[in-house]
Symmetry: C2
Subunit: 414 residues, 2 copies
C-alpha cells in the first residue's frame, strides 16, 4: 500500500519553518510495510487544499493530513476534505460540551470560533486528542471503487504523535496485510563514504531483497538495511546475514549496529571498564564535553574538563608548559599531547583528551591552515596524537574533530 | 506571482532525509516578491513526476524542480517534464563533448548513462553548471494560455544555489514586475511567547500591510516583519515604523533587530567594552562555551572555562569550597555564585558565569526537580544569581540555561 502525506499550514511555506511530522509518519508507515509515495505542503487555502485532497484520493491508498484543525479561520482541513469527498460536516454536541468544559476548567469562556473544532465529517470516526483541543478524524471507505484510508491529524508534533500512535496505528494494523520488516543500522566513524561504499557495495548488491541506504555526515557513515518478508524470521535472517557479511568486511570500523550514537558506545565502554574521562579543548570550544554530557548519567564516567582557549589557561588548567607553547605554537602535536596528559593528571581520570587546531574561517596560515587539528588521547598506556586536515566550515571542522576524539576513545577501549 | 517547488528523489521520502533546498528557494523567491504556494516531494517515478508536473503547470506561475537530473536510470525529471509539456528531449552534442572532456580530465572514460545529462528539452535554455555534471534548464512559455516559467535544477544544494543565484534570479528579475520588499527581524530572549504576543499584537495588527510572523524557540522569540510596496523607500518606511513602535513597547528586551544571534550581540558588546568572559558549567556540560566559541574570533573575548561535572573539579577549577557544596548541595544558588566568582578569579576575566542544575531526565528529587537550574554572573559590580525551572527534555533545559546566561551577560553589558 502507498501513502501520501499532506502537511497543511502557510507557515510551512515560509523560509523559516519546515514540516517535520512527515519524517515521523514515514518511519511508522514503513514499519507497517507502507511506502510513502508523495508528500505535499499546502498553505491555508481552501481551493489549493481541496485540489490536493482530490488528487491524493485518486493516486494514494492512505492519505494523512497534518495540521489545519485549529479554531481559526485559517484552519481549513476539515472543510477542504468535506468538499473533496462530497461529505458534510456535523457539529458533535458531546464534543462541543467537552471543549466548553476544557475552557471552563481554566476559568475561560470559550470563544465562538472554537466550536468548529467539534465539526466531524459524516462517516468519520472521531479520534480523541487528550493533549489538545482538536480531535483527529479517521475515514475508511471506497472512492471511485478504490479502498481509501484517510486521517486528519493535528499539526503540533506531540499531539500528532500521540494520536497516530494510539489511534491510527491499531486501525491501520487491522486493515493492512501483516508485513514483516527487519532493519539494521550499521555506523562507522572517520571513514570516507567512497571508501566504505567501494568495500560494501559488492556485498549488499547481491542482496536484492534488502534495501540498503548509505548516509554520510561529518565523520560518520551510516548503512541502513531494511528487508520485508512474509515472516519476521525470514526478514530478520536476511538482514542479519547481510549485516554479518558487512561486519566481516569492515571489522571494528563499525562502532554500532543498533543505531546507537558514538557518544553512547563510548559511554557503554567506559562504564563497562569502570573508567573515567576528562577533556581539554581549544578549537572545539566545549563541543566534545557538550556531546559527551548530552547523555543522561554521563557524570558516572565524565569528570569534566577545561575549555582552554587562551594560552594562559592551557597552562593553568591543563599544565601545558609555557615553553612548549612558545616552542611549537598552540596548534601543534606537542601541545595537544600535553593538554591530554595535563587534564588527565589534573582530573585524575583514566583518559584525557586534548584538542587544538584552527577551526576558521580566520586564523589560518600557510603552515597551519584552517582545518588543521591535532587530537590527542592520553591514558595509562601512553599518549597518541593524530593530525588531521578537515574540510568544510567552522561547524563541520569542529564536528569532525570531536568525532575523531570519540573514535580514538572508542578504539582505545576495545 | 505564485511558485511551486517540486523536490525529486526517493531518498526524500524516507525517514532519514528532508528537502532543504526549498527553504533557500523560498527565501530568494520571496525577495523577488513571489510567494510559494505549494511544495511537493515526489520519488523517482515517471508517472508520479509527470502528474505532479501537469498539476503544477495548471496551478502555478513558476515551477521549480530540484533533483532528478543525474545520470542514473532513477533520474527522471527531464523525461517527466517532456511528457507533461509535450516537449521532446534533444541530445546537445556540444554539451556531450564537454561532459566527455570532464571525465577525460580526471582520467576516466564516461559511461554511456552519463550522456543523458546532455538531453535538453526543446524550447529550453541550458543553464551551465560549473560545479557538477548536470546543467539546469529554463523554459518560459504559454501553456493553456497561461504564462509559465519552469526551471529544472540539480539536487545537490551547492549546485542548486549557484545555478539559481547566477542563472535563474537574473532571468526572473527580467520577467517579474519589480517588487520592493523590506524586512526586519526582532529577537527577544527569555520571554514567554504569549506575553510577547499580548503586548505586540495590538501594535502589529494595525499594520495590515506588514506581514508579521512570531517564531518561538527555547528561550527565544523572533518577530519577522515583511512589507511589500511599489518603492523600496515606502516598504522600508513601513517596517521601520512598525519595528520602532514594537521597540518602544518592548524596550531593551529586544536584543537584535537585524537577525543577529544572541551570541553575536554578546560578542559585539564584550568587544566594544574591551571585556572578557570565562565560564564554569556543570549541567550544561560545555554547551555555553560551545555556543560562544561557535563564532570565529571569539578568542578575543572568551578566555575559556571549565566543565566541572564532578564536585572535586568544582573545587579544583572554580575554587568552590568543599564545605559550601556539603552545606547547600552542588545544585544551589550558593554554589552557582561561587562557580562564577571562582572561574572569574582563576581566568582573570571581566565576567564569570556559573551554571549548575538538574538537566534530567534522571537525577531529580522533590526538592531539586528536573529543570531546576541556577545561573550566576559575577563581575566587578558583584554577583547575581537567578533560579529557574525550565520545562522540556534534557536538550531543551540545557538550551534554556545557556540562553539565560547569555541574556544575563547581555543585560550586564548594556
Amino acid at each position: 500500500m502507498n501513502a501520501e502525506i499532506i502537511a497543511v499550514g502557510s507557515e510551512l511555506l515560509t523560509p523559516h519553518r519546515q514540516d517535520t511530522n512527515s519524517l515521523y509518519l514515514t518511519e511508522k508507515l514503513n514499519d507497517l510495510g507502507v511506502e510513502v509515495r508523495f508528500k505535499c505542503i499546502v498553505g491555508d487555502d481552501l481551493e489549493g487544499l481541496t485540489a490536493a485532497a482530490k488528487l491524493a484520493m485518486r493516486r494514494s491508498d492512505i492519505i494523512i493530513f497534518s495540521g489545519g484543525l485549529g479554531p481559526t479561520e485559517d484552519d481549513l482541513t476539515r472543510e477542504a476534505v468535506a468538499e473533496a469527498l462530497g461529505l458534510k460536516l456535523q457539529r458533535e454536541t458531546q464534543l462541543l460540551a467537552k471543549l466548553e468544559e476544557r475552557f471552563a476548567k481554566r476559568g475561560m469562556k470559550m470563544s465562538a470560533n472554537n466550536a468548529k473544532q467539534a465539526d466531524i465529517l459524516t462517516s468519520a470516526a472521531m479520534l480523541p486528542n487528550s493533549l489538545g483541543t482538536a480531535p483527529g478524524q479517521w475515514i475508511a471507505g471506497k472512492y471511485d471503487g478504490q479502498e481509501r484510508l484517510l486521517m486528519l491529524l493535528p499539526g503540533p508534533p506531540y499531539e500528532l504523535k500521540a494520536l497516530f500512535e494510539n489511534e491510527c496505528i491499531p486501525r491501520l494494523r487491522a486493515r493492512i496485510p501483516a508485513q514483516y520488516i527487519a532493519t539494521r543500522t550499521l555506523k562507522m566513524a572517520m571513514m570516507p563514504e567512497s571508501q566504505v561504499d567501494a568495500r560494501v557495495a559488492p556485498i549488499y548488491k547481491t542482496y536484492t531483497d534488502v534495501e540498503t541506504t548509505i548516509l554520510a555526515g561529518a565523520g560518520e557513515i551510516q548503512l541502513h538495511l531494511r528487508c520485508r518478508k512474509d515472516s519476521q524470521t525470514d526478514a530478520e535472517a536476511r538482514v542479519e546475514e547481510l549485516a554479518g557479511k558487512i561486519e566481516d568486511e569492515m571489522g571494528d570500523a563499525i562502532f554500532s549496529r543498533k543505531g546507537e550514537t558514538i557518544e553512547q558506545i563510548v559511554s557503554y565502554l567506559l562504564q563497562m571498564r569502570g573508567m573515567t574521562l576528562a577533556t581539554a579543548e581549544s578549537c572545539t570550544g566545549g563541543l566534545l564535553a557538550e556531546r559527551i554530557t548530552s547523555l543522561s548519567g554521563s557524570s558516572r564516567y565524565f569528570l569534566g574538563g577545561a575549555v582552554v582557549y587562551s594560552n594562559e589557561l592551557k597552562t593553568q588548567f591543563a599544565n601545558v608548559p609555557k615553553a612548549l607553547i612558545n616552542q611549537h605554537g598552540a596548534v601543534s602535536r606537542e601541545v595537544a599531547a600535553s593538554m591530554a596528559e595535563g587534564i588527565r593528571k589534573r582530573c585524575l581520570s583514566s583518559y584525557g583528551v586534548g584538542i587544538t587546531g584552527v577551526a576558521g574561517p580566520t586564523g589560518g596560515t600557510e603552515q597551519k591552515p584552517v582545518g588543521l587539528v591535532y587530537i590527542a588521547l592520553a591514558g595509562e598506556e601512553g599518549t597518541q596524537v593524530v593530525e588531521r586536515n578537515f574540510p568544510g566550515d567552522r561547524k563541520r571542522i569542529r564536528q569532525f574533530a570531536t568525532q575523531q576524539a570519540l573514535e580514538m576513545i572508542r578504539r582505545a577501549l576495545l
